[in-house]
Point group: C2
């Protein structure tokens, strides 16, 4: 089964905004065994919208429209879809009454521009919208002799998601042939995409029936496995078998085999070991602490730390001797080590992380170029330190540095 | 002049990836006076791609294809566009030679699957790609009797951006009627979108010739003004006049009138006043420091601070008396104030910021619900503190809190 998604709204054709609803819908449709084959973004022009609707109806089994259902004269989806289908529109008196009640409950009077929100395409089922005033519509019928399902959803993500999950998913499932889908997400830290892929591609290429999508970020590679089979067990077996082989190949470079984030995994390990963590960050400026504390409940294992941006604070908060900084420089193996050890002893945490480096774009020297970062991890057994030259801009260097720090903590606790 | 943008690649039809190149191209096209009217995302299917190309060529003056120019059998853009135009393809021997040289320089041999990267659509100008192996193509001609410009660009953002800016922009400018465009970006902190809009809409609605786009984030509203006129002066005058009226209406709620970020503005002010800043963050966990240090050169005015996630560290790093925490609670007006004053005196910075609150989703109580945050700013003149109940999830509460803190610093220095 194929679907097309059409997002409507001139604001989605500016340099500032992007359709994101379609990612949600694609995930949901994939779970029903439906493939999204074309996405279109079109402005508030009745002619263009009708043209786009007609082409989609000719090509695809399911066509989902998002947006353009509101009360303004720019909201043309109902009219354009009716035009494309070659059917009329009726004003639903019952809907009109409910709209008036909704407005009255909020102390407003229903104004004439709102009446069009009660317009229903001939043959459509109305999808009530508990989260907004524009209802959706569901149409199942023939177009040029072929069976089609047409769905109109409101544009605001909160309204769209609720309406799809509560009113469209089961309707679609009842209509479509049963689909048995299994997915798995595997994640790898601090290995380049091409290196990971060169090791894993020979494995997943043997699983033609499992769709493998690779996403790469700074210091992070993610494998999304997707399998559709004749039974749930068969689908699950296939992704699990492939996931197992990838796990065997990558070993402990793989930090997650069920989609957890690196921050979550580090939190699990710290709790499991009954350990606590403190950080002293220079070039990452708080990013490591921010990532750790983005997890709710992180206060159980994260005590805090210091952002030691100035040399004085490196001494004040992490006890780095001023003489060491002037001798070796703030960006050095010695200062990185001292930051980790100093913050650990100062806070009494089980583990201490120290980061110092040149995030750029300025501040680089021939000896210590932009991207040079030292990440140290201090524990009761001693201190380990990594020296790296990370590529990319300031943001990327900072991200890489925190990714390495989290991965070092993970490996330490494994 | 109208344009359509077509992004090609099955990975763009998964729940994981999104076309972002089109935002860049839209900005560039708008600057040339070209409006983007439809965007399409299509997979690696020759039939669908040809169909999409034909519809676009019928409707729009300029059609830009992105991606699908590589060496694999999934790279079908050249063939599909030639099909749609009804013309042939020739293999360019000169291109083939250059490809072979490029490969040889990297120590590789040109394999047969790469030959198709030397395929050129009849009538096309080749656009060399210094950043990758797939060249682009430029075709100017008639389609069904109408003048059309067709551009094929590679998918990787780095390659696409360089090729457009270096090889397409001037070509387009030479072809299109001259366009005189002026833009302005205005930003407001810590005012709700509907409140800002209710005050500003009566103003910008009088400027029908200036396109005003409003973007709202947590504690941030941005106005993008866009004007096209017969001369550059006229366009600039119109956006400047409207910007001036919006500035008058919003007063010092407006923090930027040329697009700068709040972090940048705070940095400008601190340097202008020869002042320094330190922070003590509890619930924001380093996010405030991370935002401040995302600006290159922030070490000139930001000394650092402490992430005081545990109560012990509130005492250890910011000197908050343990008795105060047990008496009033860690999330309290008193502790917020003590954090700001403590970190200021401890670091010797001109200004000290303290943040404590309940970011959620857990940890709320009837007295101190999720979203309750105290942000304090200490200076030589004393300490000011704000109590807020921010809406939304953990991420949003944390963002709002740092936005308020930055805005308090800005207002203090104004």
């Amino acid at each position: 089964m194929n679907a097309e998604i059409i997002a409507i709204g001139s604001e989605l054709l500016t340099p500032f905004r992007q359709d994101t609803n379609s990612l949600f819908l694609t995930e949901r449709l994939n779970q029903l065994g439906v493939e999204v084959v074309i996405k279109t973004i079109v402005g508030d022009s009745r002619e263009r919208l009708t043209s786009v609707a007609q082409h989609a109806l000719l090509r695809s089994d399911i066509v989902i429209f998002m947006g353009g259902l509101g009360p303004t004269e720019d909201d043309l989806t109902r009219e354009a879809v009716a035009d494309a289908l070659g059917v009329g529109i009726r004003r639903d008196e019952d809907l009109l009454k409910k709209l008036a009640e909704r407005f009255a409950a909020r102390g407003y009077k229903l104004t004439p521009n709102n009446y069009q929100q009660a317009d229903v395409i001939e043959g459509a089922v109305v999808l009530p919208n508990p989260n907004g005033s524009a209802p959706g519509q569901w149409i199942k019928g023939k177009y040029e002799g072929r069976e089609r399902i047409v769905i109109l959803l409101p544009g605001p993500p909160f309204e769209l998601k609720a309406m799809f999950d509560e009113q469209c998913r089961d309707r679609l499932r009842a209509t479509l042939p049963p689909a048995f889908i299994a997915t798995r997400v595997l994640k790898v830290a601090m290995m380049g995409e091409s290196l990971v892929d060169s090791r894993v591609a020979p494995i997943y290429k043997q699983y033609k029936d499992v769709q493998t999508t690779i996403l790469a970020g700074a210091g992070d590679v993610q494998f999304n496995l997707f399998s559709q089979a004749d039974t749930m067990e068969a689908a699950q077996d296939r992704v699990d078998e492939l996931a197992g082989k990838i796990e065997d190949e990558l070993g402990d470079a793989l930090y997650s085999s069920k989609g957890e984030s690196l921050e979550q995994i580090v939190g699990y390990y710290l709790q499991m070991r009954n350990a606590t963590l403190a950080v002293a960050e220079s070039c990452t400026g708080g990013l490591l602490a921010e990532r750790i504390t983005s997890i709710s409940g992180s206060s159980r294992y994260f005590v805090g730390g210091a952002i030691v941006y100035s040399n004085e604070l490196k001494t004040e908060f992490a006890g780095v001797p001023a003489g060491m900084i002037s001798k070796y420089g703030a960006v050095s193996r010695e200062v990185g080590t001292a930051l980790a050890e100093g913050i650990r002893s100062r806070t009494g945490a089980t583990l201490g992380v120290g980061i110092t480096g040149v995030a750029g774009p300025t501040g680089g020297t021939p000896e210590k170029p932009v991207g040079r970062v030292y990440v140290a991890l201090a524990s009761a057994e001693g201190t380990e330190i990594e020296e790296r030259n990370f590529p990319g801009d300031r943001k990327r260097v900072r991200w890489f540095s925190t990714q390495l720090a989290l991965d070092m903590v993970r490996r330490k606790l494994m």
